[in-house]
């Protein structure tokens, strides 16, 4: 029995070593370029993470021609960060050790992007983020790190201003204790307090199922609004249980709430009472002027509607491709260095993507960020993309 087991085990080891050496060998090809993606491809956030990868894949397919004409063979190297910082960093180490990789499109979670980009920074590898909104993503001032979406310090403010605009007087703020959720909740709280929206409580929780004991203090304060900073998988369960306990006010969350699974979990309870809203840096694909073709192509290729941030995945890849192309031209059509690619991204002026026109400032924020507040309109998950945009704002990133 044990003898057999050890044979199987050694076979495994041998097989994985062969695989590893194969991986090394292909990197030696001079004109081969890889662009990595990192997003959660498994786990509870894979709904969005997979579509970030798919968006990038589609962009590579449609926009890879100029590089191919120059004799480059561009491949996608998708990595699964599992929405987990440890996995993200481990992947990042593998990514920087592969010289063929010239850019990373990546990360859905700020909590994963921040430590992973420390690794990219060590080797000057360019990172274009399609979704990370925590201010720290760019405020570290790394030359390599850019994002094409807005920031939490603005998003929290947008949420608080919107709540005040609705005439709400009091709020209970909850977050998920991640860099992203807690960050946005703190900005929300700060703005709310400044503007006279009474904050009855501020709590973090990692609980995923049983919110009974958290709901007691919430309901005791009877707030007009419950704000959740974090992801839909917690927020929707919390909102549902709050409604069942008799909460009649309004729910407000952030772009982590933007997934059709939210209505799968909470259903009608989101629409009842004061209704549910979420602020986001990524409107439904249909609000952007340039996305009609993208949606059609995405549906044709993957046979499903793009989730939020798929279009941003597309744009991040488009920016990476364009920058590599510019850097390669400057380098006499030879493979550019990673530093040159990072520099080329910052030098892009008014790059026209499908979700906007991008110019990056000196820390990698887009010079204008788009912010939306969206209302949940239907309890049917299939109608998530029909949620109404109730507010659209163009706001420049805060100055350092």
């Amino acid at each position: 029995m044990f003898k057999n087991l050890s044979t199987v085990f050694s076979l495994f080891v041998a097989a994985s070593m062969t695989l590893a050496t194969c991986g090394m060998a292909s990197a030696a090809d001079a004109k081969a370029i890889k662009i990595a993606t990192q997003s959660p491809l498994s786990g509870d956030q894979s709904v969005v993470g997979v579509d970030i990868k798919r968006g990038a894949e589609l962009a590579l397919e449609q926009l890879g021609k100029p590089l191919a004409d120059m004799g480059f063979k561009v491949d996608l190297a998708p990595f699964d960060d599992q929405a987990n910082p440890d996995t993200g960093v481990a992947n990042a180490k593998r990514i920087v050790s592969d010289p063929a990789i010239l850019a990373v499109v990546g990360h859905y979670n700020s909590g994963v992007q921040i430590p992973s980009s420390e690794v990219y920074h060590t080797s000057g590898l360019a990172n274009v983020s399609p979704a990370n909104t925590n201010p720290k993503v760019t405020t570290r001032g790394y030359m390599e790190v850019n994002r094409i979406v807005g920031r939490d310090d603005v998003q929290g403010v947008v949420g608080a201003d919107f709540a005040i605009g609705l005439g709400l007087k009091s709020v209970f703020v909850i977050h998920d204790k991640t860099a992203y959720g807690q960050g946005i909740a703190e900005f929300f709280k700060k703005r709310a307090e400044e503007k006279g929206l009474k904050v009855l409580g501020f709590e973090g929780t990692e609980e995923k199922a049983n919110f009974d004991s958290l709901l007691s203090p919430i309901l005791a304060g009877n707030p007009n609004l419950v704000y959740f900073g974090g992801m839909y998988s917690q927020a929707a369960v919390l909102f549902k249980q709050a409604r069942e306990r008799g909460f009649t006010g309004t729910f407000l969350s952030d772009d982590g709430f933007d997934s059709s699974d939210a209505t799968k979990i909470a259903g009608q309870t989101l629409v009842d009472g004061g209704g549910s809203y979420y602020s986001t840096v990524s409107g439904p694909a249909s609000v952007y002027a340039g996305t009609a073709k993208f949606i059609a192509d995405f549906k044709a290729k993957f046979n499903s509607d793009p989730q939020p941030f798929a279009a941003q995945g597309y744009d991040s890849m488009a920016i990476s491709l364009k920058a590599i192309e510019n850097a390669a031209k400057a380098n006499g059509n030879a493979t550019p260095s990673r530093e040159a690619v990072a520099k080329a991204i910052r030098e892009l002026k008014d790059f026209v993507g499908i979700t906007g026109t991008f110019t990056f400032n000196n820390i990698g924020d887009p010079t204008v960020g788009k912010y939306f507040v969206i209302k949940v309109n239907s309890a049917d998950p299939a109608k998530w993309s029909e949620n109404a945009v109730v507010e659209t704002l163009d706001i420049a990133p805060p100055q350092q």
Binding site: G43, D212, L214, G221, I265
Partner: protein
């Protein structure tokens, strides 16, 4: 017919009911007194004033008005923990090892129940079902979850534990942890391949989400609805039924006698003509049935499940079993109820008592601190010594 009724041991049916009531009342009373005294002491301090400023009520009133709801919530989760804890304790009683795969057996029960309901929902049967049929479907899902979890528990015992029965005690323990990881990833794999979803959602049907309101309590400027949702009632009632049934099985039937005999002394039981392997399989079966039912009930109450859903409830139920005295059925009941209550009390009041500095996120600290204290001062658990025999 008459003889059948006479053969039922009424005492064994009533005893666990009495115990459950006693434990619930006692732990509710003890914790209520603690929080009320704390509230009285803190009322005049800065803590009370902060609350008064915010909600316009004194800390004491706040605590008192919230109490009924907190007790009810605590009971609901406590019964779920108790039902899972029984699975740990039964196996420990018979084999003296901790079946760490029990949390995944719980998860499998939850998945089977939920998948059946999702399938029924997608075929449109659930939407058109009358109220009575909704309950029939729910019971069917619970039974299916029980069957799957029971079968799995027996299989796991046969494959992963029985070959190791003569080995040192650490060996089956490690095997159990291995099985636990394996089952988690198998669930993830199967779900990934068949549905592509990580989260599975308990469909909305019947009147389970409705809430029975007992009345309104005035708290400062707001009214609190005191009530219980129908699904919480279902959880409590099903858990009580299961606990009574299990108690009857162990204490008043021939199989139960055999289980107790095997728990006391395996070789001697075997000499007395008891098929030890069969009894151990039955023990796992019963533990799995309870775990599976608890899984479906957990999904009903909390809506969303994923492949790792068993971990936290499993850990807490294990703590509950140890708290009550592992190997002791009554102890598992007590431990589950105490732990559920403690957790809910801590979660609900911690925020108010610390001016929001430490909120309900720290509720688990209390549960596990109590566990540590019990283990220091009463290593055998709360009920460990009172009963001479295990199981």
């Amino acid at each position: 017919m008459n003889r059948f009724f006479r053969s039922i041991n009424i005492r064994e049916l009533l005893r666990p009911l009495g115990q459950l009531t006693l434990f619930s009342l006692a732990s509710a009373a003890a914790l209520s007194i603690i929080v009320l005294v704390l509230a009285l002491i803190l009322d005049q301090t800065i803590i009370g004033q902060t609350l008064t400023e915010k909600l316009n009520v004194s800390l004491y009133t706040y605590t008192l008005i919230n109490l009924p709801q907190v007790v009810l919530d605590g009971l609901t989760i406590g019964f779920v923990y108790a039902a899972i804890a029984l699975g740990y304790t039964m196996v420990y009683g018979v084999l003296e090892f901790i079946n760490f795969a029990h949390s995944e057996i719980f998860a499998v029960g939850a998945f089977v129940g939920v998948e059946i309901l999702i399938a029924l929902d997608q075929s449109g049967i659930l939407k058109s079902a009358s109220l009575g049929m909704a309950y029939v479907f729910l019971i069917f899902a619970i039974l299916a979850g029980m069957a799957a979890a029971g079968a799995l528990a027996v299989t796991v015992e046969r494959v992963a534990y029985r070959p190791l029965r003569g080995a040192p005690r650490l060996v089956p323990l490690i095997s159990a942890i291995g099985v636990s990881f394996l089952l988690q990833d198998v669930i993830r794999l199967v779900e990934g391949l068949t549905t592509g979803d990580f989260n599975r959602i308990f469909p909305t049907f019947g009147n389970f989400d409705k809430r029975i309101t007992f009345g309104q309590l005035v708290l400062g400027s707001t009214n609190l609805n005191f009530g219980v949702s129908i699904k919480s009632l279902i959880v409590i009632i099903s858990a009580v039924l299961m606990l009574v049934g299990l108690n009857y099985l162990v204490n008043a039937t021939r199989i139960g006698k055999a289980i107790r005999a095997v728990a006391q002394d395996r070789p001697t039981a075997s000499l007395m003509g008891i098929n030890v392997n069969r009894i151990i399989s039955i023990t796992f079966l019963v533990g799995g049935l309870l775990g599976g039912a608890a899984g479906v009930l957990y999904a009903l109450k909390f809506t969303r499940i994923d492949a790792f859903v068993g971990f936290m409830p499993g850990l807490k139920a294990f703590a509950a079993a140890v708290l009550g005295g592992i190997g002791n059925l009554t102890g598992a009941l007590l431990g589950g109820i105490v732990l559920g209550m403690l957790e809910t009390f801590a979660g609900s009041y911690l925020g108010a008592f610390t001016m929001g500095a430490a909120g309900s996120e720290y509720k688990d600290i209390f549960a596990f601190c109590i566990l540590i204290f019990v283990l220091i001062f009463r290593p055998q658990g709360l009920m460990g010594e009172n009963v001479g025999q295990k199981a």
